[in-house]
């Protein structure tokens, strides 16, 4: 009996996506590193030697211990400690988790907004298009970071520091999500403009389908590949935005460190020789963003037929 209706796994195994992935060493390494980092971050409560959120486990006497191998290091803290005596490995694991959460959350939010507005603008055209895209243009003419700083500062001022600390993750997701939606909206709109001229859209209209159904069920799936590519890159961007905001003191509080606030907390001590508090989280951030961008590049090469390399 021939397997006519191939299972999903078989389809995936035969697909161009898997084929090109297997032949691309950079993509494989990037994915392995990325998955390892995500796994480590989300298993932080299990993997981390100490809980940086638990003040009882912190001893100020352990502050600013260097990483293993340097004079004065403590074997209990392989990556050293920060100025408050927290184990740097634990804080990095927890911090990566926070950064990833904000990165993914913000991208989900900006994708929702971007897809919705992009579809509406592209498909309905006319006045809707003009209004939505002018809003996007206005927003793009400010730097993303500036929008985020203004919104963040307003929130921080109106909620107060303590309250802000509790809801900081959600606020950052909201801020970065709202600040970056025009990127995705423009991409979606451009592909919708190309798709809506195709005959299958006419055919769908002739079948008597309503506008929402045509937009979301027929056109949206055909615009997913550019959305995937840009969303991947946007995760990296969101993580960087979060780090930048935290570095400026508008992001995660030091009690719930993200990679950005870790870098910032170490920055004050870098002149006094404790370089590791800044450098190690910085390296983790760079590697994380790099592998996500490399994966995004690979995805773009695979999903964009015009870039096929013989």
């Amino acid at each position: 009996m021939s397997a006519v209706t191939a299972s999903r796994w078989e389809r995936f195994r035969d697909s161009y996506l898997w084929y090109s992935f297997r032949r691309d060493k950079v993509a494989i390494v990037s994915l392995v590193v990325f998955v390892a980092m995500v796994a480590a971050a989300f298993l932080a409560p299990v993997l981390a030697p100490t809980d940086p959120y638990d003040l009882a486990q912190i001893d100020i006497m352990n502050s600013e211990l260097p990483p293993a191998g340097l004079a004065g290091s403590d074997p209990a803290f392989p990556l050293g400690t920060d100025a408050q005596g927290r184990d740097l490995m634990s804080t990095i694991l927890y911090g990566t988790r926070v950064s990833l959460l904000i990165g993914f959350g913000a991208v989900v939010l900006q994708s929702l907004l971007g897809i919705l507005f992009g579809l509406l603008a592209g498909y309905l055209g006319g006045r809707v298009d003009a209004i939505l895209m002018r809003i996007a243009d206005v927003q793009l003419s400010f730097s993303t970071l500036m929008v985020a700083i203004i919104v963040g500062a307003i929130f921080k001022a109106s909620f107060g520091n303590l309250m802000f600390g509790e809801i900081a993750i959600y606020l950052l997701i909201l801020i970065i999500g709202i600040a970056e939606w025009p990127q995705i909206a423009r991409t979606v709109r451009a592909s919708v403009l190309a798709e809506k001229k195709k005959e299958y859209v006419d055919a769908a209209k002739v079948m008597g389908f309503g506008t929402p159904r045509i937009m979301f069920r027929h056109i949206l799936p055909n615009t997913l590949s550019p959305i995937f590519v840009i969303a991947t890159v946007q995760i990296a961007n969101a993580i960087i935005s979060e780090a930048a905001l935290s570095f400026l003191g508008l992001g995660m509080p030091e009690t719930q460190p993200s990679l950005g606030s870790l870098i910032k907390s170490g920055f004050d001590y870098i002149q006094s020789g404790s370089w590791w508090i800044t450098l190690i989280p910085g390296l983790v951030l760079v590697v994380l963003v790099l592998v996500i961008n490399l994966l995004g590049d690979w995805l773009r090469d695979v999903l964009n037929p015009r870039l096929y390399k013989g």
Binding site: V4, T5, E199, V206, M207, F209, H218, N222
Partner: protein
């Protein structure tokens, strides 16, 4: 009463500096189970006519006047919601390019089930059963497999069969086929045309066939319309028009066909080309290319005259008919 009765349909495109008239008050009707051919050059307004029937003219086009009576209801005056109940359900449409009309990211089964569910309260299981039945009707090999396949996994001919199956899915009264075989291989063309003809006869569906191919029209349709520059210049029973074309344009079209009896002979060409919508000449739109054009043709648009069962819009034909009648009277 005819199933579909188009009266003085006037379709225009709003462009900078005024409207372009794409359909100049065309009128025709289509009976239940009848097969009507619509021929003309590219740009004559055939596809515009097809889309206007479903009131689906895309902006900047709009219906400026006239009626499209489907079972007595005017489609031109209907709300979008009412129209959606008719589109696909009562009047289906088949497009030119089977490569483009199926959504590339949805399986055949999904697309068929979706179409059924949009118009009927029906379970997915029942919808799949109907879809399978229709795929069997279009004689596609191993129809049960096709439901779970994507359009790119099928050949052009198979896709056009699927599209015909989708058109028949909701048992429509009318199928509008806009050059259904143009994008296919010549051998497949004949198969698909035969299939479409057979299914329309079997299901008693009215077919409006839009095509360049006079051969197909003469084989498949019972009546035909000849369009030129947005006007119907000749309409009547297909056999009469093909055997004895009245309008100089129709004569030119038929003379341009290669004849079996005279191999190697040079084909006739109608001099010039059809004017674009923005510069349609005054009077009869065909007058600059017409060998019989007179001053009258250049100034005013001819009305329809009856020649046998055929309606023709031509002064020359009208004159010939008058002469014939006066000769007959003299004989008496």
């Amino acid at each position: 009463m005819a199933l579909l009765d188009v009266k003085d349909l006037d379709v225009r495109f709003a462009v900078r500096g005024g409207d372009l008239q794409a359909l100049r008050k065309i009128s025709f009707s289509l009976d239940k189970g009848e097969r009507l051919g619509l021929v003309g050059e590219s740009g004559a307004g055939k596809s515009v006519a097809a889309f206007s029937i479903l009131n689906l003219i895309a902006k900047p086009g709009y219906i400026a006047g006239g009626q499209i009576l489907f079972e007595g209801q005017d489609l031109a005056a209907m709300s979008d919601k009412q129209l959606r109940k008719i589109r696909g359900n009562r009047i289906a449409m088949i497009f030119q390019d089977p490569m483009m009309t199926l959504n590339p990211v949805l399986t055949i089964g999904t697309q068929m089930v979706e179409a059924l569910k949009a118009h009927r309260r029906i379970s997915t299981r029942d919808a799949r059963a109907i879809a399978l039945k229709k795929l069997q009707m279009v004689q596609i090999p191993s129809p049960d497999k096709r439901l779970d396949q994507y359009p790119h996994e099928l050949s052009g001919g198979m896709r056009q069969r699927v599209i015909i199956a989708i058109a028949l899915l909701l048992d429509p009264e009318i199928i509008i086929a806009d050059e259904p075989t143009t994008a296919l291989d010549v051998t497949i063309q004949a198969e698909i045309m035969a299939l479409l003809l057979e299914l329309c006869e079997q299901e008693n569906v009215a077919l409006m066939l839009i095509t360049h191919d006079l051969g197909v029209v003469s084989q498949v349709t019972q009546r035909m319309l000849v369009m030129y520059s947005g006007r119907i210049i000749e309409q009547g029973p297909t056999r009469e028009i093909i055997n004895d074309p009245q309008h100089p344009y129709t004569q030119g079209l038929i003379n341009a066909l290669p004849q079996m009896g005279e191999p190697g002979a040079r084909l006739y060409q109608i001099p010039g080309s059809m004017p674009s919508l923005s510069r349609v000449p005054s009077g009869c739109p065909f007058n600059p290319r017409c060998p019989f054009a007179t001053d009258q043709c250049r100034t005013s648009m001819p009305n329809y005259v009856h020649s046998g069962n055929v309606d023709v819009a031509c002064y020359e034909v009208a004159k010939l008919i008058e002469q014939e009648q006066s000769l007959q009277e003299e004989d008496r």
